[in-house]
Symmetry: C2
Subunit: 189 residues, 2 copies
Amino acid sequence: VPLSLLAQTQNLPAPALAPSNRYYFLVGIALETGPAEVIPPLDAEEEALWRAMARMVIALPRILETELRDATGLMPSEYAVLMHLSEQPHAAMRMSELAQMGTLSGSGMTRVVERLTRAGLVERIKCDEDARGQVAVLTDRGLARLAAAYPDHLLGVRRHVLDHLAGLDIKALTEAFGKIACEEPLPFS
Amino acid sequence: VPLSLLAQTQNLPAPALAPSNRYYFLVGIALETGPAEVIPPLDAEEEALWRAMARMVIALPRILETELRDATGLMPSEYAVLMHLSEQPHAAMRMSELAQMGTLSGSGMTRVVERLTRAGLVERIKCDEDARGQVAVLTDRGLARLAAAYPDHLLGVRRHVLDHLAGLDIKALTEAFGKIACEEPLPFS
DNA sequence: GAAGATTGAGATCTCAATCTTG
DNA sequence: CAAGATTGAGATCTCAATCTTC
């Protein structure tokens, strides 16, 4: 690793980089690295895009989670379960189906549904066809809770996301996001 | 809450929704809700966009984290610290500066830097100017570790993200992501 | 034996409280 | 007393092991 060691910042152990040697290991290639690169480094536009996107991907879930929690007392994973159930014909889903919606592992889903059951928003019943299975069913209170939370969430999605994407090619963007997320199965599953 | 209660799926307690009444509380408005809506619901294109984006925002960090961990043994938060340090003139930053980069809370940063220090990738030294402060400095081993991890990470970013965004308006997209992430300060800080 | 679901153990992260210094 | 940083407590989530049923 051919690196110039230089300026001590305080008055101590080997700092690693000279003031003028700036490295961009997340997005760009080190400016003064010697060895030939196999992977093409990012150009300036790509670097700016990825920096913005990396920040967005971290910030957005936090912003929405905080708002959702403050406004409704629900966690995103809980909201997602209620929502997915509400979209099913009988407001019912197997635990494994729920987990396969992609937001949670199997054991994580067990615990979320357990919380929701304790809160009376969901009921767990044995599956008729397969005695191994459990079916989660949305209760009236669960649906009411979802309906009450929905306007806040919709407002957040509009204000924080969609308003900023106005003017872009929505269909192309949708397709691109789909490829980023779906190309490979999620880590667990 | 004017909702038709219908079909029992198994043979049990009140399921909440009729098979034909599908609700979309994450992205669209319930199809058959009565009361006038204040917030405009999402149209079909917006709904598809948000569904894809919500999935992407969840999946992408997991994909990159899994790859990074398998390839290098580093967590994303650890990689971020090494990277941010490497980009500073003397490879040194105050704990609070590090935390303000947006990825972690103050206490979270304390713990990440503690891990990195134990691993010999970072050193913690007292701040000259302000005896309350701590300065984290990248070590040679830390820089070497970052340099070794970088190609894998770059490859992942290219393959999983940038390749799929080719053809879109990069500058507009960068600006949009910036607005989504930066508009308001992050939850903590 | 494999699949559906749950439980135990371990990791990471945030919030609130604490300690130290300006 | 405010700010920088750390520590204690609590929450959520994943992985691996377990239990039940096909």
